[in-house]
Symmetry: C5
Subunit: 90 residues, 5 copies
């Protein structure tokens, strides 16, 4: 899993049928501590994430099983991050 | 998902049978705002995209489920981009 | 498979249902001899690994089959490394 | 899909059973206009390609579904390229 | 498929159950002509490869179908290389 912040969304009227009703969100990759990175990608939303929320997403075939219609997607948001506990000494 | 612009197509007479009737389009990767990139790839067309259209595509196994014959492909166009809404402040 | 050391964990209350009860651990990549690398990632835990343990994990679709609920994950810890035998002369 | 030119083949007597009878070809990656690249890989042949032919291949799980025995392969040649039409102006 | 030489093995007592009895070998990547590279990885053994042998392996989901218990692995040795025939002139 990788982490990101939601920065917008994509509008698409013509698309494959199983994508109907699937929200496509623009994400900016972040470190697990929230530090923003350069990479911007689009992922399907499986948890109801909103702009500015810190989320984690899966890529490739696993993305498809996160959404009920099993649409052809290769990235999906599967959780909202509450926080990260780094153990000291490692 | 990644975004691209359609720049041409590939002709192939000898191919695996499940690719019969599948349109193979040449794409140039773009940013989500439409900025063209260097990378050129070929993807199967699942939405009837034409030259110059701004599309988004999926890669790997997900590409195969976008086309009815489930052909052995690793990239498929699954939607035409109408626009992108970037939320300010993120 | 790649090797890593467990350095913490991620908390997430809102997430897809099949992730309920799945421990999400922060890993730092290491060489197979234990040398730490820069990359930090999050993987589901399928073996009960704890902080500081030297583990190996799988990526992509294979991660999902390591956990009973088949959640949408793309990295899973599948073993704890006891040691590595390097044959001399290769 | 990516394009390549066939530059040779691999011999292997001891292999997993589902690879029996599967031709393993050495490919040099090319651009879609035929320009040779540095990368050399091995792919299973699903179309009867010969030395010097300009082909396109799929990678990852999709490769396996291109060959009848569904062998554990991660690259397969699925078509011979007749030509590429680049639309002007994009 | 990629090529490698077997340089050792990994010991792991605590692991997911489907990995019981699966030999995990340390590989050093090589070119198809046998030239050693820097990258070292671990792959499950599906052909009974030994130290010093020149092998080829598959990655991602395809690795899993090479081993009877379908364990969560993302790399598997599927053949021993006898030799490579490079066609002259390409």
């Amino acid at each position: 899993m990788k982490s990101a912040v939601v920065i917008g969304r994509i509008m698409a009227t013509r698309k494959v049928e199983s994508l109907t009703g699937v929200k496509l969100l623009l994400l900016r990759r972040t470190g697990w501590d929230g530090t923003p990175m350069k990479e911007v990608l689009v992922a399907a939303d499986a948890v109801g994430a909103g702009a500015g929320e810190h989320v984690f997403f899966v890529e490739a075939r696993d993305a498809s099983i996160a959404v009920q219609t099993n649409p052809p997607i290769d990235a999906a948001i599967v959780g909202i991050i509450d926080g990260a506990d780094f153990e000291s000494g490692y």
